[in-house]
């Protein structure tokens, strides 16, 4: 919602009957999206315009910043994640990191710069997910099995928290 308001993207309410039928358009600029969905997915080949669609309708991805002197698990004290105090931030960190398939405790204790590319991507995702989150290059740096596990757990997390318009 927040992203939609920011970018002024078109919002349309659809019925269940309309939702069950795929909507084919000759030009994706004419697309419209419901304002009530939780998880959306843009699929396409390389150079097919996935990032352009994200920018046009949902805004730029908001990338978190990282303190290289702190463990990753210590960096979830952000009002955007819903954690306002130390105790809340610690619980929030554990919940979010687990929900992106990053379950290794020693990895949580490392600074962001000491993680592998795949671990960094999952840590970023753990902090990015909120209402209106835009995730580009989702699963691009993890192997297929990790991607499936990550997709399954992140969608459960989003629906449990009732986040909206995550793409």
């Amino acid at each position: 919602m927040r992203q939609a308001a920011k970018t002024g993207s078109p919002v349309k309410k659809t019925t269940k009957a309309e939702q069950s039928e795929p909507q084919h358009v000759a030009d994706w600029n004419t697309l419209s999206f419901s304002d009530s969905f939780s998880v959306g997915l843009v699929l396409g080949e390389s150079s097919s315009g996935k990032t352009s669609v994200l920018r046009r309708f949902f805004g730029e991805p908001q990338l978190p910043t990282w303190d290289q002197k702190m463990a990753v698990v210590s960096q979830f004290a952000d009002p955007a994640t819903g954690a306002h105090d130390n105790k809340g931030a610690a619980d929030e960190a554990q919940d979010r990191l687990s929900s992106v398939g990053l379950g290794s405790i020693p990895t949580w204790m490392r600074p962001y710069g000491c993680m592998s590319n795949g671990e960094q991507a999952r840590s970023r995702l753990a902090r990015q997910i909120t209402d209106g989150a835009v995730i580009d290059d989702f699963t691009s740096v993890v192997n297929r099995h990790a991607a499936w596990a990550m997709s399954s757990s992140i969608t459960r997390f989003i629906r449990r928290r009732n986040f909206k318009r995550c793409v």
């Binding site: 463990a71 931030a89 592998s116 590319n117 740096v141």
Partner: protein, 251 residues
Amino acid sequence: MGIRRAMIADAHRLFCVCRVVFASSCGDVVPWLQPDWVLILDGKGERSATLYQNPNCGAPSSTFQPRITTIVSTGDATISDSSKDARSACEKAWSLKSMADIDVRKIVRESKNDKPTPLTIQVATDEATTRAGEAFDYEFDGKSEFQPPTLPQIPDDFTVGLLVGPSGSGMCAVPVYSTCTVRSMYRYDCCERFGSIVTYLKWDAGKTTILKSNFHLPDTIEWAAGKSVGSYLSSADGRERLRAVGLPEGV
């Protein structure tokens, strides 16, 4: 996408570029990339690794087409992230490629070297680290450690090498700990983002600098905003490079 992988491997050989290493969590690139060696990291336990050498290392690219046909027609050369499947794919890819009466000598050398020194870094502890440690019965005093994989002896003379392993298995750390010199290293992502230079482990600034200078790891390529990618690669060599990665010249 597979054709593109093969084009890149062939381009590296045609350009006479040597000692190029690719790192990927997708083992299914093996039949297409046809590297001179594959190092499979298991990413768990003792962090051991297995090195496979291509029996037909350095074969001319003219043998490329039959190679593809054979592999595709037999279907399953894809592998998952488990090292068992990866081994199977290596064996399948290379033995099929060798069907034209080429002597097949698969050399598999298990890790015998001593464990490399662990990388360590100190971070500030706070309630989050304390609570996470307590919740999972993990003692943490602020010292974080990473044990790089134990490596077999990587051949000194090669054109294209491939590192395969799951996320966090230490693929980026291999060139740092290997005795061989790596000219360029690329990370191959599942989504075709080919050619992005790996981000080096940044355990501490001093160590990173030393590692880079010792092992000739390239710095990250800088791209100026507002300048087309094609303008960097306008020469004949540049156009060949663009074709090798499947990008149009006007990109």
